[in-house]
Symmetry: C2
């Protein structure tokens, strides 16, 4: 059932479907040009129509951040699923249930402790679980360094255990701190080279290591070659956001997620417009705070989506947003943006803002709005 944007209650999370489709095509074509498979990370959307659009465009399976996402995808026929967070031993029964139901789920570890827990569980249940080893390519979070002796220990524990060593994977999360082409290309090459090196070390130790999986949206869009890589994972490219815009990997016209909001008041002496999109709608993500442009809690656009230069959400309480217009004259604020008028806010971080909503409202090329549900919780 479709409706029109004018009939939506606010706040609402709008997805511009033509932009989303172009974003999907852009990444898919880039990966095909570089000769690798694309395994999109569905933690950004957590929404089946989005995921189906990615699969339809040529994606090879999905990456998930929770087993709930895995279950949801598998229930809709998407059966090649990488759970890209080092698995807690307590979650192995849930992973096993998915495997037994026919899902080609693979899991992740980055330690001897973790590998031993997986092997013990797999032996007990006679399940040849496919396992990836996480490699740390930039020091930002998890993973074993490509040179770490423990990498070979973990590979050996897995290969001698009853499980399948599927390959090595890494995520250059530090790419979110960059903002120029040279640095992004260098990090993309570092991500590729270190993960391929980790695979080669394992192979030289006589252990099969078929796959090399890397990726983040900024590095995927910056890599010049992906020699030795078999697949790339990326998530936020499907919607993009202001953080990605500041990094320099997308144009403002590619931002596909926005929050529709209603003006509910003004503080004229301060030049404030008060809206019904506070942090509960935008999230508390302030990802642009230390970037080249700080967009506060979001960039303000007209209801039709036109960027209003200098207008930002500079404050947010739970259900109140405070918009300021920058250098623009405030004299007729209440006439320009009367109570009841609507605006759209582009978010800092699409993954965080989307998570605040039970549904997206997907706006197609004809102006019709479709309700797309999304997952919440674990």
């Amino acid at each position: 059932m479709s409706t029109l944007i004018t009939s939506l209650d606010t706040p609402a999370a709008l997805v511009d479907v033509p932009r989303m489709q172009r974003n999907i095509q852009r990444m898919q074509q880039r990966m095909e040009g570089l000769g690798v498979r694309l395994r999109p990370h569905v933690k950004t959307s957590k929404c089946l129509p989005v995921i189906h659009a990615q699969i339809a465009a040529g994606a090879s399976g999905v990456t998930v951040s929770t087993l709930k996402e895995a279950e949801h995808c598998f229930s809709q026929g998407i059966d090649d699923v990488l759970y890209a967070v080092a698995i807690a031993p307590g979650k192995l029964p849930q992973a096993l249930a998915l495997r037994r139901a026919g899902c080609n789920l693979s899991v992740l570890t980055d330690s001897v402790q973790g590998a031993r827990a997986i092997v013990a569980f797999a032996r007990e249940h006679d399940e040849a679980l496919p396992v990836w080893i996480e490699v740390d390519c930039d020091g930002h979070r998890s993973g074993l360094a490509a040179q770490d002796p423990a990498l070979i220990d973990v590979a050996r524990i897995l290969s001698e255990g009853a499980v399948q060593l599927r390959g090595v994977m890494t995520h250059a999360g530090s790419s979110y701190q960059l903002d120029n082409t040279e640095a992004l290309q260098a990090l993309a090459e570092q991500e590729r080279a270190l993960c391929v090196h980790a695979a080669e070390r394992i192979r030289k130790a006589g252990i099969a290591c078929a796959d090399v999986s890397i990726g983040s949206t900024p590095t995927a869009l910056s890599a010049q070659n992906l020699d030795g890589v078999t697949e790339v994972r990326a998530g936020v490219y499907v919607f993009f956001d202001l953080v990605m815009h500041n990094i320099g990997v997308c144009q403002t016209e590619e931002l596909a997620l926005s929050v529709l909001t209603t003006v509910i008041g003004h503080q004229l002496a301060k030049g404030w417009i008060i809206t019904d999109a506070g942090w509960m709608a935008m999230s508390r993500d302030r990802g642009t705070q230390r970037q080249r442009h700080d967009f506060g809690y979001g960039q303000v656009c007209s209801e039709a989506g036109d960027w209003i230069d200098g207008a930002r959400v500079t404050g947010a309480n739970q259900e109140h947003g405070i918009i300021t217009l920058g250098d623009t004259c405030h004299a007729d604020l209440a006439a320009l943006f009367p109570i009841g008028s609507r605006l759209r806010i582009l978010p800092n971080h699409a993954c965080a803002t989307g998570a605040q909503f039970p549904h997206y409202h997907a706006l197609d090329a004809n102006g019709a709005v479709h309700t797309w549900s999304r997952l919440h919780g674990w």
Copy 2:
């Protein structure tokens, strides 16, 4: 159906029910001692068992931040509801539907534009909607200053329209920026005095203004007298959190909400413990960042809830938390906190962290865990 904490999957939002009950009693008794009604703000919990506990303790109706909360409360027999966000004209039909169903819903405005929209709608539908006027007592967000000539204009529009002017209300949200008793007491008195003054101005203009509603958790717990006030609104006191602890209105033993998490890895050279509670679980709220103690994304406790001094969530990705132990020796981090072991994290801001979860897991005095669902979205 109850279970045990050991059988919960992580991340999970735990509510310590005895602590919550003590928090409810503390605020209720304080308000009764000061001679005012308590109208708790349910935006913190968005959870019926919590709200019912507040009503059972003596609360007079509820405050809500969305009409969805109002509908949810009313469906469970809670019929005195103040929607404490200036109402967008587009939401008036939803408010009317609640009124027509028998809910004693009251709404809010802080402008001539808003009051005119409400009056026009009320006339059209012949519904004597109760309306509050929002007063700005500290410049932090919405409302008319107590001295603003427009206050009388708005009161007159409402009283001469077909609606009921229920009273004036204010919220001293700037109390979140304070951290000493004197300043809190002074702000509490400012909140009281300015809102009472606004009511008196309206009454002097010959317009009935029965109620004076004020409140925030820090000021409610600091007020020395509430002369002229008829009710107090407060929300986060039901769980408290690290922001409230930094402000100085609660002890650590009163914090009733925590996030149960599992250790999934380590970066030993850096002294990092990696867990499965990232920002999707904790929220992106960094409310303690500019307070006297910056707790990062949360304070780390043992699985049993014992505070681990200096241990904080210093980094967070979507499904990864990074814990550091402060000055504690890191030598045997992986032995002290092995993969699969569990911790509890106290959040900066209970309203924001709770919102990340579809359910709370309520831990009663006997160690049994009950699943309490909570609202998500609008």
